[in-house]
Symmetry: C2
Subunit: 419 residues, 2 copies
């Protein structure tokens, strides 16, 4: 099988190196050699420590879609639009299979890509963890009721360091940037956009059709404080940024936001740069997959697995099934769940009574309330954990509470998830 690779950054170079290093076993498992016949990269002079293969260099990546003699194209350019999208569309239209690691492209344009050739994207979600294959094939007999995942290693690294070292967000982010774990412009990661791209893909696999990316609810981790992490710990939880796709009676949920998850839930123990995905199926129950979600080796592992599938002729409809279902995405206001609400209040008689009255008036019932020590007249944190309630009621209550004179800053409102 002769392939063309577009994009020779860390991942592209990793793919070339892996095909070279494990050529013997990849040939045995693919049933044929996989040869890099052509590559395209912005700067062909940069030394990438590539094996000295006689591959053709192409200036315009889109040429790989139609260049004679190629059996598949590997798109590792990145970005939801531009040359990546042009190449993927042109390849598929030309009947040429595509392997991509491009989550943004799949999340935004997945529903409208041509179905004229196989499209494989194991590397787009959770790096080397074979989660696409698990959902699309391994659990294919199940109605998937819920998928939840730690999908962004940068966020998980930051939240883990904040908890273990009792440090603040800004401080840990700066360190992560210095260490290369976070980008100079970290917004895509820490605002949850990258996780949302991946969640949109998982949701499409779970439900058999793409969800509209702009219908995915997204909230990042900038607002998470060391204080909330400490309170969560005291209450028996950890704070994780999760992407969650869930089937409910009203439709499907697709959301990315920080969550309190019980400390004894397996996903709560997944720390640092590791990723994990929990899938719940009606026959299989809960299955969790865990591993490295990024890096040259893990991502190349997933790309080459897709190439081996193509070489073996192991094909699957892009979202796992022939006849797409069509469920509406439920707005976040309809979400039914428990909440953690942390207030900073002036410690004086009557404040808790006012807060409790507002909660009662909005139909929010309390599971627990935590206030440590007394500092009359000063600012103290008060933490409330609710029973299940609709989000619009919870938010209305939080807004009314925020307007109380004794409440000093915007309340921290974090959803509680089973993990």
């Amino acid at each position: 099988m002769r392939i063309g690779i577009a994009g020779l950054g860390t991942v592209g170079a990793g793919v070339v190196q892996l095909l070279h290093a494990n050529a013997d076993l990849i040939t045995a498992r693919a049933g044929q050699p996989i040869t890099v016949a052509a590559v395209s990269a912005r700067d062909r002079k940069r030394d990438r420590f590539l094996p000295a293969n006689p591959m053709e260099w192409v200036d315009d990546a889109v040429q790989l879609a139609t260049m004679p003699g190629l059996d598949a194209v590997v798109e590792l350019i990145g970005g939801s639009d531009g040359p990546a999208l042009q190449l993927v569309r042109a390849s598929l239209q030309n009947g040429r299979p595509v392997v991509t690691a491009n989550k943004a492209l799949l999340a935004v344009h997945g529903a409208t890509l041509p179905r004229t050739a196989p499209l494989a994207f194991e590397a787009a979600v959770a790096g080397g963890i074979p989660v696409i294959k698990a959902l699309r094939e391994g659990l294919a007999a199940n109605r998937i009721t819920r998928v939840a995942g730690i999908l962004n290693g940068t966020c998980n690294y930051i939240l883990t360091a904040m908890r273990e070292q009792k440090r603040d967000f800004a401080d840990v982010l700066a360190e992560a940037q210095a260490l290369g774990y976070a980008e100079a412009d970290p917004a895509t990661d820490i605002d949850g956009v990258d996780a949302a791209h991946k969640l949109a893909i998982l949701a499409a696999l779970a439900f058999g059709h793409p969800v509209r990316f702009d219908a995915v609810y997204v909230e990042g981790i900038r607002q998470i404080s060391a204080l909330d992490i400490a309170f969560a710990e005291e209450l028996g939880y950890r704070i994780k940024l999760l992407g969650i796709a869930r089937r409910t009676d009203a439709g499907v949920e697709a959301r990315v936001h920080p969550c309190l998850v019980p400390q004894n839930a397996p996903i709560a123990r997944v720390d640092g740069v590791f990723n994990a995905v929990v899938a719940e199926g009606d026959a299989v129950g809960r299955v969790m997959l865990e591993g490295r979600g990024a890096g040259a080796g893990p991502t190349a592992s997933a790309v080459v697995a897709d190439l081996i599938d193509l070489a073996r002729g192991r094909l699957t409809p892009v979202w796992g099934q022939d006849t797409p279902a069509d469920d509406a995405v439920v707005p976040i206001g309809q979400h039914l769940g428990a909440y953690y609400l942390r207030l900073m209040v002036i410690d004086k008689p009557g404040v808790i009574a006012d807060v409790a009255a507002i909660l009662r008036d909005h139909g929010v019932s309390l599971e627990s309330l935590l206030q440590h020590g007394r500092s009359p007249g000063e600012s103290v944190p008060v933490v409330l954990v609710t029973h299940e309630v609709r989000e619009h009621a919870m938010r209305a209550a939080a807004d009314a509470i925020a307007a109380l004179p004794a409440v000093l800053e915007a309340p921290a409102l974090i959803r509680i998830e089973p993990g």
Copy 2:
């Protein structure tokens, strides 16, 4: 696709029910309906709450191999030989694909089964967790250096209950039998045989060829005491029955035995009847999969996933590659690792010195030694943790120590694994 099912116990009935319950999505994912056209079971009168399908009943399961009009056979009879083996051989020889959950058959006869038709066996290891697919396809680009798994839910349930409730083995086993978590004759589970069957399959996938089943080293959990579980906890470990396949310079290791694994290793947290498999690949690093390893639903989930693969024409060589490698299995005496050694000694001066001298003479170096309190003249436990040493040296030292007059019972020797 028309299938014949041999064996209608819990799993067989579960497969029929799942095909019925999720017929719509299974059809969409398989690209065609999957119909149970024929079944064979010992007692056709037993009420199995099966959907009222017009399926043919066959008295001799082996008939399903050649009966006209079937596209695949599902073997759920069990047992490494007898009718299960006859049916599987006859089907494959007839060019008819086989799906089986039969780990014993695969472990013992996997190397000599005809290669004349596809053979799928996701349900044979770790129930509903798609670990066969992950190893054989998802991680196909990797040289697998090590696979380790909690492969027997009964043993994991017993070890978990012993730890959490500080109870003895016999006591917990009796309770597990009463609850139906352990068989009336529990030997296959608690002596490690079932885990060894599964490990042999994982080893074959990791190394690309079956290992001889009688070359797998097997040790069960009968000898594990509440005392050792408590000491392990104190030392920062948990005791798990693991199946381990590992590539070493001297050849491959394939072994099942209780291990001390560090408490912070993800596999140490997998409790109760859950199974988990950790795979280490040269590109992907460590990936862990976790879920329910048994039961009608999870096992049926795996069987039907295999049927969907067959319906889609997604085929894979039985051990993942065309050209089998051939590595020798290293005898357990050559194993290099650290050990936990627990002695019951008479508490008197000079005993520890004698023990230390024997260890020194056998080239065993100590990482730590634990002896709590003093009871002069009485029996007390002494726990030793060694650095890495060859097993034959460790065993010779343990034998010599056991022969000391002050050592009162056979020492407990448990291998330490990274998890």
